[in-house]
């Protein structure tokens, strides 16, 4: 995977979106910062992330896929897969 993009998902744009949803500075969302342990995401914020990303990327996430939504890099990879790309 290249540094900043997977072709289908612009990682910097995703970082900005997550920062806006979580109402924190985008610099806090490092590639591997854990949403729960490092960024204090609770189950309600996790649902907010899921609903917003589903809308933005036009995908549907299943319950078992949500365990992947734990960091920027992992979320980027999951979205890329869902959009039919190679992570």
């Amino acid at each position: 995977m290249t540094e900043n993009s997977t072709g289908l998902v612009d990682k910097e744009d995703l970082r900005e979106t997550l920062a806006e949803i979580l109402d924190i500075d985008s610099e806090e969302i490092t590639d591997d910062a854990n949403f729960v342990d490092d960024l204090g995401v609770d189950s309600l914020m996790a649902l907010e992330i899921t609903v917003r990303l589903e809308k933005k990327y036009g995908v549907r996430m299943q319950e078992n896929e949500l365990v992947e939504v734990t960091s920027l890099n992992k979320t980027c990879r999951l979205l890329t897969e869902k959009l039919g790309g190679q992570p």
């Binding site: 189950s43 309600l44 907010e48 899921t50 609903v51």
Partner: protein, 290 residues
């Protein structure tokens, strides 16, 4: 005075499942247009399109938003849209049916995972109780809760009963009922009634998330003097019934919509193991004879 619901608007927070969904359907059947706020992903989000179609099938308008009803951002975005949709009159009915909280015990307990943390408790009470206050504040500020409007908040037996994983939700229900009483008094001069509806144990998606639900569903079903659990439609019918008046005199209450479940002591009202009515089983006669 009794007044028809036809042509009014009803706003339901938590409209995509359980009691909110059933009430949206019942109110639309009674001729009310529906504003629904729900928060879903995956298949649950997909299913809302069918619900909207079903509501529209009753000849009314339905507008649904997939947003977090407990966030200030959502209120800021939706209140102007509510004003626009209702031509400035606001909703006749505001129903708070938000079920989202942390279902974990306060203290370590065998068979359970991690215990409740501060963030979870605050989130749970904020979503399931305080958000009612903020919606009412914003709707009143926008002059969208007019004389004759009804506010309903869904509480539960959890307000007086404890379950291992239900502590945070119980606390939220206690706060919610307190908010209902306070709002009832503050809204009395506005002619707006505010009541809490305490449904009995009802099998909804939210109930299924409670770890102990299987045990107490079984117990509640047999303990209810009606011999069955509460259905979401029981709650929907109560909302329609209580909304059919412009009076605000019935206000500030917690109204049981549970078939007498909370009152029934132990399992004394159990109708026996089968579905046969009591008078068809000789056991009681035999016991009395001795």
């Amino acid at each position: 005075m009794l007044i028809p619901l036809r042509g009014s608007w009803s706003m339901i927070l938590g409209a995509s499942s359980g009691m909110g969904r059933a009430t949206a359907l019942a109110l639309s059947q009674a001729g009310s247009n529906i504003i629904g706020v729900h928060f879903d992903h995956g298949p649950a989000a997909e299913s809302v399109a069918d619900l909207v179609k079903e509501i529209e099938g009753y000849g009314v308008q339905a507008r649904f938003w997939n947003m977090n009803a407990a966030s200030a951002r959502t209120r800021a975005e939706l209140v102007p849209l509510v004003a626009e949709l209702t031509d400035g009159a606001g909703p006749r009915i505001l129903m708070h049916s938000l079920a989202f909280g942390s279902l974990v015990p306060y203290l370590p307990r065998a068979g359970h995972g991690p215990t409740l943390v501060q963030r979870q408790l605050e989130m749970t009470v904020d979503v399931m109780a305080h958000s009612l206050v903020y919606w009412v504040q914003d709707l009143v500020a926008a002059r969208l809760l007019r004389r004759g409007a009804k506010v309903f908040a869904m509480t539960s037996a959890g307000v007086v009963q404890a379950l291992p994983s239900y502590g945070a939700v119980s606390a939220a229900k206690a706060a919610l009922e307190s908010h209902v009483r306070q709002l009832a008094c503050e809204l009395a001069p506005h002619g707006v009634a505010v009541n809490a509806l305490r449904a009995g144990v009802t099998v909804t998606p939210s109930l299924r998330r409670i770890p102990e639900h299987a045990e107490f569903v079984a117990r509640a079903g047999s303990g209810n003097p009606h011999g069955r659990l509460t259905e979401p439609e029981d709650v929907a019918e109560a909302v329609v019934l209580l909304s059919g008046t412009d009076s605000s005199w019935l206000t500030g209450n917690t109204i049981g919509v549970d078939g007498g479940e909370l009152l029934a002591a132990g399992n004394a009202w159990e109708l026996g193991n089968g579905s046969a009515p009591r008078d068809a089983t000789p056991a009681t006669t035999a016991a009395a004879d001795r």
